[in-house]
């Protein structure tokens, strides 16, 4: 649907759309203001004054750095696993028709279609039954499971648009399967994989519900934030961390958009 250039939106529609967008964005902008406030004991608005001191204070906090480091490591490894599993699955599902194909797409989507708490508690009780102690790897196990779908969605959208005759042509010209993969398939789906990987990274970096069940005593950055939310102790530091998290997640999303925008499919549509 796209109206001609001349037609104008009714005023009511404009106002409703603008109000909706403001509702979506003003709260996030507020966090930026709070990161600079001089008030440290309450969430007072308007801020009595502005300061940069909390950035230095946050910089010198080892617990924040530790949580950030753990989150980055978990997100990196989960993304790597999700990239392999997701692209394999997308290649199989898009390339051929076989018995159980629908079941496989359902299986991939299930971890995000069911509420996160179910995934979390299921993994936790499975770890308990199997006597697996909580560690770095139990977090990764959970994260990779729900990151697969993001890579899968991006990859399968690209596979659908990549003509199968390209692959046949490559084979006809004498390339074997591995050469075709390296010279034809990968260059074609490369940007979709990068976009899917970035979104998977953002998803893992931000995940809290499953993580609370699989982390044990360790703190990822979201878990650190959750503690602060439930029992606020260092409000100014939390404000700064929240702002940094917004900025850090912003970049991969914008990048993923520009990597996939030439296609008709929307990246990350089914988070």
């Amino acid at each position: 649907m796209r109206s001609d250039r001349g037609s104008r939106a009714p005023l009511g529609l404009k106002i409703a759309a603008a109000a909706g967008l403001l509702f979506l964005h003003v709260p996030i902008l507020l966090i930026f203001a709070y990161a600079f406030t001089t008030e440290e004991r309450s969430y007072q608005w308007p801020p009595p004054g502005f300061t940069l001191q909390w950035f230095a204070a946050t910089w010198n906090r080892p617990d924040v750095w530790q949580a950030l480091g753990l989150s980055l490591r978990v997100a990196t490894i989960s993304t790597a696993i999700a990239l392999v599993l997701g692209s394999l699955c997308a290649a199989a599902v898009s390339g051929s028709r076989f018995f159980g194909r629908e079941t496989i797409s359902l299986l991939i989507i299930l971890p995000i279609a069911l509420p996160g708490i179910i995934t979390g508690i299921a993994l936790r009780s499975a770890f308990n039954i199997a006597d697996i102690p909580f560690s770095f790897w139990t977090i990764v196990l959970g994260h990779a499971t729900f990151c697969v779908v993001v890579v899968y969605n991006n990859a399968i959208a690209r596979f659908r648009r990549t003509s199968g005759s390209l692959i046949e042509a490559s084979m006809d010209l004498g390339a074997d399967g591995f050469q075709t993969l390296r010279h034809v398939i990968l260059p074609n789906i490369g940007t979709a994989l990068v976009a899917g990987g970035m979104l998977a990274f953002a998803l893992s970096f931000d995940e809290v519900i499953v993580t609370t069940f699989t982390a044990g005593q360790q703190q990822t950055l979201p878990i650190w934030m959750l503690e602060e939310l439930v029992r606020p102790r260092q409000r100014p530091v939390t404000n700064v961390v929240a702002m940094v998290v917004v900025l850090v997640t912003l970049l991969p999303i914008v990048a993923a958009y520009y990597l996939t925008r030439d296609g008709a499919e929307i990246a990350g549509q089914g988070k």
Binding site: D4, Q44, G86, A91, A92, I104, S125, F178, D206, M225
Partner: protein
């Protein structure tokens, strides 16, 4: 030396060559190799733990020792029907339904404007305008609302500046949904839920609206329909599959969330909180498992209905 002799090229040789040949000759093997890792991972780790959890819901807990009795029984499911537990389920379902309806109402104008009128720079802006909140940190979003709803926060300040504090007090005085302040009332919980899940409604609605030919709307008004009629009889039915697709997310996510009601809202529990409390402090894994079956069953019916309305094609 004739070229015809090489119409079939010789294999590349070596292990890789042989492997490539094998995979080409037998597509079934290739398919098997590609599917094995993801299916093993999701099948064993994910489905395995899911079934292990569901199996535990058929166990019960010994009320005296607090230990799990490993005999199959439906007693734990019976406990779900205690009035206090039924309350929790009902409360979560109503909240999820209200949030879903409100999200549909708020999302529609944004999606419609983006699909029909936004072009060029505005189009990108609208698209990212829905994508950025969708992907930005869940906790940061909840945190932002904690700042907004705080007693000393911006919302109370704005009402005071406009001399409308009496209005806020009036709203908060409404029984059930009101409370001492916004941050401990159902209204607060509702606002945060709506905010956090709204982008999930915008994107599928917009995708459905993009597919509606504009000539259809023009034809409707040419044939004498008032804008209201066009909306009700042409636009809405065509957008509905997309809205239903979005509602799957808003409904399911609200149903299972346990962090938002814990941080903003009254102390009355939602399903997610009940699961969390049962498996954690209470140590009653069977009841926690039985509680998780509730959203699974509800979502099963929901997805079945959504599929009949064609929502899956709109995803």
């Amino acid at each position: 030396m004739s070229a015809a002799a090489h119409a079939v090229l010789p294999g590349r040789g070596g292990v890789f060559g042989a492997l490539a040949d094998l995979l080409w000759r037998r597509p079934g093997v290739l398919l098997f190799v590609m599917l094995l890792p993801p299916v093993l991972w999701l099948g064993v780790i994910y489905l395995g733990s899911l079934f292990a959890l569901l199996a535990q819901s058929f166990f019960s807990i010994d009320e005296f020792s607090g230990l799990i009795r490993h005999e199959l029984t439906l007693k734990t499911y019976g406990e779900l029907f205690r009035p206090s537990n039924l309350d929790i389920i009902l409360r979560s379902v109503i909240m999820a339904a209200v949030v879903t309806l409100a999200a549909a109402v708020v999302a529609f104008p944004i999606a419609y404007y983006a699909a029909r009128y936004a072009r060029g720079k505005w189009r990108v802006l609208f698209y990212l305008g829905a994508m950025l909140p969708l992907w930005s940190s869940y906790l940061v979003k909840v945190y932002a609302w904690k700042l907004i709803l705080a007693k000393e926060g911006i919302l109370n300040w704005a009402f005071a500046q406009l001399h409308l504090t009496w209005l806020l007090d009036l709203v908060l005085a409404i029984p059930v949904i009101g409370g001492n302040s916004l941050s401990v009332s159902y209204i607060g919980t509702f606002l945060v839920f709506l905010y956090v899940w709204l982008p999930f409604m915008i994107l599928p609605t917009q995708a459905a609206l993009e597919r509606v030919p504009v000539s259809l709307i023009e034809a409707s008004s040419d044939l004498g329909a008032a804008p209201r009629q066009t909306f009700r009889t042409v636009l809405l039915p065509l957008a509905l599959p997309g809205m239903v697709a979005g509602s799957i997310f808003t409904f399911s996510l609200t149903l299972g969330d346990y962090i938002i009601p814990q941080i903003v809202g009254s102390s009355r529990l939602f399903i997610g909180q009940a699961v969390y409390a049962q498996q954690g402090t209470a140590g009653n894994i069977p009841l926690a498992a039985a509680f998780t079956v509730v959203p699974i069953v509800i979502m099963g019916f929901y997805l079945w209905g959504a599929r009949r309305m064609g929502a899956f094609d709109a995803l």
